[in-house]
């Protein structure tokens, strides 16, 4: 029975993770921006949970970094010691619009990278001090190589991936697991503009199951679904002189 904090709890993947955590008996603290959606998730989890399980929540806009410290305090007040931190918030930027707006680009980098890095920094110190626990963040296969169709998102996720690599290197000696999750295409309301034909699309339930498995196996990095590891390997191997001519 672990104590788990979820940042961005109402995202489709985090929601499915929360259900699985509750099902296995964990206590959880949920953080999300939209109060109505958070209340919907909270009552859902209450129905699933046993009477002895704690489920707390806080509404917060995670782009306001100054709140992060306090959110950890609130979570600890509810749960006691924190075993696992899951960072799952994010947005899917409109690449074309970003190209026309520096402000939008920076906002997206803030949402998808900087705010996550702020949360992880505080969480890392907390877990390092207690000498156990796990930090999990949802990055993306998009962070493995910059592509013209979504490089703002890719840059943010790439930054997050690199940051976690360093964090892992530091915390490995302190008994803290750092797990980078790299989903490929996931069929969620966030991606509804895409035509979801083909076998590459995963359901959030599958991704959540993959995260829990990777977490319990002590993994460092997980591609979800598994085949993305090989797809991205190929994409990373294409030499830049050729890659720049492709439309990806």
């Amino acid at each position: 029975m672990a104590n788990i904090v979820i940042f961005g709890a109402t995202s489709a993947i985090a929601t499915e993770c929360a259900k699985l955590f509750v099902q296995r008996g964990d206590h959880i603290f949920l953080i999300a921006r939209n109060a109505e959606r958070l209340a919907v998730l909270e009552s859902d989890l209450q129905v699933r949970a046993g009477s002895d399980q704690r489920i707390g929540y806080a509404v917060a806009d995670l782009n306001q970094h100054e709140l992060h410290e306090r959110l950890y305090t609130k979570a600890s007040e509810c749960l006691g010691k924190i075993d696992t931190v899951l960072v799952a918030h994010g947005s899917l930027p409109d690449q074309g619009a970003c190209e026309q707006s520096v402000e939008l680009t920076l906002n997206e980098l803030n949402t998808n990278a900087l705010s996550a890095i702020s949360i992880l920094t505080i969480g890392a110190n907390l877990l390092e001090a207690q000498g156990y626990g796990a930090l999990v963040a949802i990055s993306s296969v998009a962070g493995d190589r910059g592509r013209q169709s979504n490089y703002v998102y890719g840059a943010a996720k790439g930054m997050l991936t690199l940051f976690m690599q360093g964090l892992r290197n530091r915390l490995a000696k302190r008994g803290v697991q750092v797990l980078t999750v790299k989903p490929g295409f996931v069929d969620t309301p966030m991606t509804q503009a895409f035509d979801k034909g083909g076998l590459l699309w995963a359901q959030p339930e599958q991704v959540a199951q993959g995260i829990l498995t990777a977490l319990s196996k002590g993994k460092d990095e997980v591609y979800l679904l598994w085949f993305w590891r090989w797809i991205m390997l190929i994409i990373k191997l294409i030499p830049e002189w050729l890659f720049k001519k492709l439309t990806l």
């Binding site: 489709a12 099902q23 109505e36 959606r37 919907v40 998730l41 009552s43 859902d44 129905v47 699933r48 969620t188 309301p189 509804q192 035509d195 979801k196 034909g197």
Partner: protein, 430 residues
């Protein structure tokens, strides 16, 4: 790319929009819309060629559960599986479950689905205490048998046409254990089936017969009747371990040709069966097919059809016999051939399929014109017996069959939302 479980009929381009928050409004579209639950229908009730599908997959939160009364409130995209996962171990069960637990609450209401216990519990809608119906003009109607009764009755079994169900309250039924007592009995002919079923109905809560659809002559209609009830004594091993359960039903992957089907059916029929009552967890009992994900793909690109009819009591014996004769002459059904009986328990819905009589359901690989010709022959028998076909299992019924089978059709039309339509609806009411 959104299709129904049997991949038929094929429809044109559809636009898909998530509806994932129960407070949100319906999408603004120029064309018609229909809810798409989990696409487990065998036809086009959940499809809308050239129109919008409202995806309820993420409208999947529980809202409230009272463990003392067994009243559960949840959003309409919640799967029956999720409900059973949460409530069965706490002593509650869905009073009606279809042959798969991968259907949504919205889909179960909109088709007023039935299980193997119609003779004791009727169909799904009877156990729905209330739901909210969202209309395209933004109105939200809380419907129950007591308030907005007409809307309640037209939406139960209303095939999604009256608007979008956002949440529902279901009255669960208490159980003592997650295990079932089951008994399988072989019968050598259709005559024996009627006798056996008659006895079983008064003794057991659940009854369903598998029929060897290739058997002919004196063996016509032979099969196996499986009866069950919830175990009364709590069992210690409450958890179901997926791997060590074996259900005698093997996936019919290679069974969809004549040779293998003949072999399999006769093997399955003669399989040695314990003559006494056997305990079985509820999952392998109710949902043996669910352990094989995507079994529908085994029929290949062309997909398959299901034909399910109900025949009123006065003609059931002769009509079922005629249907089975026609099918065994055709020579290619599938492993899935199921015969059950419906009681006279009234349905909550105006357009519900269940009604007193015998109901026969069979899968057929899609062999194009040959298969459709067989269905025309079967239709003829169903027509003459004043029977009806099940919209949830239909990809091809003629217009007159729908009108004849659903006499409330005219009354029902008043409740259809002007912005809602489906491929099925346009096909059967042209």
């Amino acid at each position: 790319m959104y299709h129904s479980w049997n991949m038929n009929p094929k429809v044109g381009k559809q636009y898909a929009q998530y509806f994932s928050e129960r407070y949100q409004e319906l999408p603004k579209t120029n064309h018609s819309m229909i809810a798409y639950g989990n696409g487990r229908s065998y036809g086009d009730v959940c499809l809308n060629s050239g129109g919008t599908l409202i995806l309820t997959k993420r409208l999947n939160h529980f809202i409230e559960f009272d463990p003392t009364s067994g009243l559960l409130k949840c959003e309409s995209g919640v799967l029956l599986k999720d409900i059973l996962d949460v409530v069965a171990s706490r002593g509650w069960f869905l009073p009606v479950v279809p042959g798969t637990q991968f259907v949504t609450v919205g889909g179960a209401i909109a088709n007023d689905v039935h299980g193997k216990n119609h003779h004791s519990h009727g169909s799904f809608g009877r156990h729905v205490a209330s739901f909210e119906l969202l209309r395209s003009d933004g109105e939200r109607l809380v419907c129950s048998p007591a308030s907005n009764r007409e809307w309640f009755e037209s939406t139960v079994g209303g095939m999604g046409l009256t608007g979008l169900i956002t949440w529902a309250e279901i009255q669960l039924m208490p159980i003592q254990s997650t295990f079932m007592n089951t008994l399988s009995q072989r019968f050598e002919s259709l005559n024996d089936y009627w006798k056996l079923m008659e006895q079983a109905k008064s003794k057991w809560m659940y009854n369903v017969a598998w029929i060897d659809c290739l058997a002919k002559g004196r063996e016509l209609g032979r099969g196996v009747l499986t009866s069950a009830e919830h175990t009364v004594k709590p069992m210690r091993s409450a958890e179901h371990k997926k791997k060590n359960v074996s259900f005698p039903l093997t996936p019919p992957i290679s069974l969809v040709n004549k040779v293998s089907l003949t072999l399999f059916n006769s093997m399955y029929f003669h399989l040695p069966r314990p003559t006494q009552v056997v305990p079985l967890h509820y999952l392998p009992y109710f949902f043996p097919l669910d352990s094989i994900y995507h079994w529908n793909r085994m029929y290949g690109k062309k997909g398959f059809f299901q034909y399910q009819c109900v025949i009123p009591p006065q003609h059931e014996k002769s009509a079922v016999e005629a249907l089975l004769k026609t099918i065994s002459d055709y020579g290619l059904g599938s492993f899935l051939a199921v015969l059950k009986s419906f009681s006279n328990i009234p349905t909550a819905g105006l357009m519900s399929f269940p009604r007193e009589g015998a109901t026969l359901a069979l899968d057929f690989p899609n062999n194009g014109r040959k298969t459709l010709a067989l269905f025309n022959e079967l239709d003829q028998i169903v027509r003459q017996a004043n029977g009806a076909l099940y919209p949830a299992k239909d990809a091809r019924m003629p217009i007159d069959m729908f009108a004849a089978g659903y006499p409330a059709l005219y009354e029902f039309q008043r409740f259809i939302d002007p912005r809602f339509s489906s491929s099925f609806w346009r096909r059967v009411t042209r």
